[in-house]
């Protein structure tokens, strides 16, 4: 895969209202850096697709601007195609042509010199494993292969920025994993990638940085910031949570309480938060010294799904409360 000129994507204070009055984006700002995979998370109708379409020059925001490689995409939306490859959802593929014709059409549309088209298509086909289906009509391909074909269309353009809206939707487990590996490799070649997805376990493995969008705006996490890295997610935002499976959990809870830890037990497993590894290690030593048999001791991994659900629940509650308060006024 060829390396590209590192290009970052900047969105500043984007507001977008649809003609039906729905405020899809409310003051959203974002910077995605070269080589980074940015994961965009949120419920249906939160504004993910709108955000990607605004970034790709397909929708025009009321205020705010999108810049890429120093070009103001909001003022010159046609320039977006030079730097940004957008794979929308739903895909929208021509179904009455073969996969080869589909790729050839978009290669021609990208103004790729005629003598290079064949080579570019071969390269993309090899990368995406499309060879067995190349002469089949797109209509006969499964949703997964159509999705790969659409990604192939984006890759032919060889843009430094890729916006992928639900790239893994409708794919089986192995196809998802292969597709996400391809996206990872694209980021490793210096491309700037923003991915929106509802399949959070895969997104957690893929993205370097995340943000949660709800009702057209970013939602702050426990750290007070909307953006968080995978490392922050896995470590926990404030204190890491530890799990201990042991023979006498009540004794262990008492020992930990004496050391100042607030442990909660469920069956023979108890959980407690520790500021760092040394504090956790000290707690473990104290429990063992008290004669408790320890079967398992590990740091609890925070799942993106779990965290997103919790944050969205809290956000919806607080916006519901704010609305009720507003109604009473």
């Amino acid at each position: 895969m060829t390396r590209v000129q590192p290009t970052s994507l900047n969105l500043v204070d984007i507001w977008k209202t649809y003609p039906n009055g729905i405020e899809a984006l409310r003051g959203v700002s974002l910077e995605v850096k070269p080589g980074e995979v940015f994961g965009l998370v949120g419920p249906n109708g939160a504004g993910k697709t709108t955000l990607l379409k605004v970034a790709g020059g397909l929708l025009f925001p009321e205020t705010g601007n999108v810049t890429c490689a120093g070009v103001d995409i909001t003022r010159r939306p046609k320039q977006a195609a030079k730097y940004i490859g957008l794979m929308p959802d739903p895909l929208g593929v021509y179904t009455d042509v073969s996969a080869r014709e589909y790729l050839e059409f978009f290669a021609r549309l990208q103004d790729i010199p005629f003598d290079q088209i064949s080579g570019k298509i071969d390269h993309t086909v090899e990368l995406l494993g499309l060879a067995p289906w190349l002469d089949d009509e797109v209509e006969t391909l499964s949703a997964g292969w159509q999705r790969r074909l659409a990604l192939g269309r984006v890759l032919l353009a060889d843009t430094p920025v890729l916006l992928l809206d639900e790239p893994a939707a409708g794919l089986d487990v192995s196809a998802r994993s292969e597709l996400l590996a391809i996206v990872r490799r694209l980021a490793e070649t210096g491309r700037t990638v923003a991915v929106s997805s509802h399949i959070l376990p895969e997104l957690q493995q893929l993205a370097d940085r995340f943000a949660i969008i709800n009702q057209g705006r970013w939602v702050n996490t426990a750290s007070g910031q909307p953006f968080f890295t995978r490392a922050e997610l896995e470590r926990g935002f404030t204190m890491a949570e530890w799990c201990l499976r042991c023979s006498r959990p009540d004794n262990a809870v008492a020992v930990l309480a004496r050391l100042g830890f607030n442990a909660k037990s469920a069956g023979n497993t108890l959980t407690f938060a520790a500021a760092d590894d040394a504090a956790a290690s000290g707690a473990l030593k104290a429990v063992i010294a008290d004669g408790v048999d320890v079967y398992e001791f590990y740091r609890r991994q925070v799942e993106l799904t779990e965290m997103v659900l919790q944050i969205l629940r809290e956000d919806n509650q607080s916006s519901g409360a704010a609305n009720n308060h507003g109604d009473r006024k």
């Binding site: 397909l58 929708l59 957008l86 009455d96 549309l109």
Partner: protein, 271 residues
């Protein structure tokens, strides 16, 4: 390099069964009508003069073919073009087109040339009939080619109008219905209204009659053929030059405005 949209249109159309059926319908219809014309002319001469003049058969065949071609093109050209942009919205492929370096003008022109190629192809299918008809004699080749060119130009304008209308709508069915209504109004209803206006004001002065003709008839896609059919054998556009120039001018203006509408529709937001 060839316009990619034109390339795709040709690929897709060449594979469409509908296209071949339309072509077959076109040729069969022309064949049946030609046969009816030959039988009618022969029958007419047999009843009245007992001597059949070949040139009359030629004239009958040529004008019938040209009028049939015009009529069929007026139905088939919009059918082939209406919905070409709304279909892109419907099947959600427009986002991929817009997210490419191709300009809106290039996309619209590619679609228009694709539709016009179909019109030209139908024009070419009529050539064997015209050539066979000229063997009996009749109008000059200059006149025949002039009429054929006007038919193809009318086809291009109707394609452009259909394309422009298709850009305004998100659903192909709506685009087809609006295109059909617009063209029916232009080609059939407007001349009828003009005729009624003249019939109800038959005592009015010539200037009024001429004004009605300019407003309702001279720009009708059939008008040039009717005017030229009046001269019958030679290319004699002289006496109709101003109405003809006006009519063709209106076509070109309408076609250009429609193309502009199509281009503008491709610059709109893609939801």
């Amino acid at each position: 390099m060839m316009n990619p949209l034109y390339w795709l249109e040709l690929r897709v159309r060449a594979r469409e069964k509908r296209l071949w059926l339309i072509a077959l319908f076109f040729v069969v219809t022309l064949g049946i009508i030609s046969g009816v014309v030959i039988i009618s002319v022969v029958d007419w001469f047999s009843s009245y003069t007992r001597t059949i003049e070949p040139v009359s058969i030629g004239e009958g065949l040529i004008w019938t073919t040209l009028f049939c071609q015009a009529g069929l093109l007026m139905i088939l050209a919009p059918l082939a073009t209406a919905g070409r942009i709304s279909q892109e919205r419907e099947q959600r492929t427009l986002a991929a087109l817009i997210n490419s370096p191709a300009s809106a003008t290039r996309i619209a022109l590619g679609k228009l040339w694709g539709a016009w190629t179909f019109v030209i192809w139908l024009g070419v299918l009529a050539l064997p009939f015209l050539f066979t008809a000229t063997l009996w004699g009749g109008p000059s080749w200059k006149l025949i080619l002039g009429c054929l060119g006007l038919n193809l130009l009318a086809g291009l304008v109707l394609s452009a109008v259909s394309l422009g209308i298709s850009g305004l709508f998100g659903r192909s069915l709506t685009a087809y219905l609006v295109t059909g209504s617009f063209l029916f109004g232009w080609i059939a209803v407007l001349p009828m209204l003009g005729s009624l206006a003249m019939a109800f004001n038959h005592d009015s002065n010539k200037a009024f009659q001429e004004l009605v003709m300019y407003l309702t008839m001279y720009h009708n896609p059939f008008f040039p053929l009717m005017a030229l059919a009046g001269s019958f054998t030679e290319w004699d556009a002289g006496k109709f030059f101003i109405p003809l120039a006006y009519g063709v001018g209106v076509w070109v203006l309408l076609g250009a405005l429609s193309l502009l509408a199509a281009v503008r529709s491709l610059k709109r937001e893609v939801y």
